[in-house]
Amino acid sequence: MQVTGTVLTTRRVDAYHALTVVAPGIAERYRPGHFVSVAVGGPHTSMVTRRALSIHDVKADYGGTVELVFTTRGPGTAWLAERRARDTLDLVGPLGRPFPLPRDPAHCVLVGSEYGSAVLFPLADALLARGCRVDFVLGGAGAERVFGAMRARRMATTTTLTTEDGSLGLRGKVTDALPSVIADTRADVVYACAPMETLRSVTAVAMEFDIPVQAAVEESMACGIGVCMTCVLPVIGDDGATRMVRACVEGPVFRGERVRFEDVGTIPFDALGAPGGGARHVS
């Protein structure tokens, strides 16, 4: 649904921006893993595509608020970063398929890199409410780019932090720390949200331990509602066939082992409808 939300508060979280927006309709329907798309640049903008943003927090105040987390990467997110309390935002959401939750209490490792970690916190709340054990592995390039370390420490049984420059926690990537965390916590499932390369390695680690991994991908999108066909990636379906599926409506959460991470950015030759692949029906 589309909501014109009012910005309630803005804040910096480490190196990132967070906007809390009053959006009752979205807050009500939200489940962890959902995202929203935001129109940027105001009513007469020259920016025609929406920005997909992850939801970091949902609260019941003021009829329902959502907190959106993003980093400034271009003129659109720079405009968003300039929003102040009482400005209005055009939001569409909640969008996408949320994280599936285990039926019975399970040991869950939540892996996040950079601001991808933001979506893991409402997920952790939901898991904890179901009696799951939650352990975090959060990373980033430097200390200020590790999102939500403090909050993770308060929520989780253990929190492992990694930075590539060694300024916080272990030096290295989240996937360097992940195997020992999975082993120590006897994890049943891994949840991850990170750039494609990291998700690929996280999935490889989880597959080594033979446990499922739910990966939320960060693809660039123009519409967020499934009509523009620009956010596709190769995913193996139940029938074993690879299809170019839309991250916005079929995702953003996928079973990691189903995503052909090594082929992202290409059309695999055996994908359904790949050029030269399969029979053409031209008479």
Partner: protein, 325 residues
Amino acid sequence: MSVDMRTFLAHVELANPITTAAGCASSGQELSQFFDLHRLGALTTRSITMAPRAGRPTPRMAETPSGMLNAVGLQGPGIEAFLERELPWLAQRGIKTIVSIGGGTVAEYSELARRLADAPGVTALEVNLSCPNMEDRGRVFAREGSAAAEVIASVRSIMRYDVPVVAKLAPDVADIVAVARACVDAGADALSMINNPLGMAIDTEALRPSLAAVTGGLSGPAILPLAVRCVWQVHAALPGVPLIGVGGVMSGQDAFQLVLAGACAVGVGTALFHDPYACLRIERELEDLLRARGFQRLADAVGLAHRPPGSAPRHLLVDTEESTP
């Protein structure tokens, strides 16, 4: 007082002139969660191809000033799945559907027309002659009148007489009027213009083209003036041919420009990416604009900007005559 928004695409009546542009509404089901698709004049499907197509690699999209580039490459399920799932879904709901088709050869277009000829629920057939994303770069039919005419003549001879065949034209041509005339002579009942002109953007960080396919179709408000020019020129040359004006329509005022230039229907594309409710908003804004200018019928505004300088708008003349008994 409400304005009569009905319009005719050849002999097919549409409740209002606003349609979705081909490739911008996917299968229709995605938009139906936002609004009732019956409120569209018609829904235009993505271009259906014979075989399923995986499309182009990503990145497929790049935002540009007042627009965007796309190189999706006609990703779609192919005609089998379309006839099995997508078209029946639309037909069962009675949604007016313009089916867009795309092919690499005249034979492929003809085969698509054959498969669609007996399918229930096809309000009109739009022949995508001009998709700049097609892999087969040697055959962009819309660039040459004779190639376009060959496709249209074949498709027209196969489709049932009561299903209008619409030729979708590209703006990347030396003389769009010549291509339009060739299509009409070959039997096109209506014309749709414009498809995306080709564009390109370069990522200055990566020092490479922004799109994996290098070039892509430019859409959005940046191309509205191009669409208005094409509709104007074709309407001036072929005033009797119904035109669907498409290209960068973001508001009722944009749609009104195309109507005044000669379009009897208006396609909304990129605006849907920005605002899922764009079609309804644009229809409402267009109706308000017509009412504010004293129009009782949309049809009175079609091509009105072509009237000679100094002459009063037709619809106002009619009004005064009727009010002086």
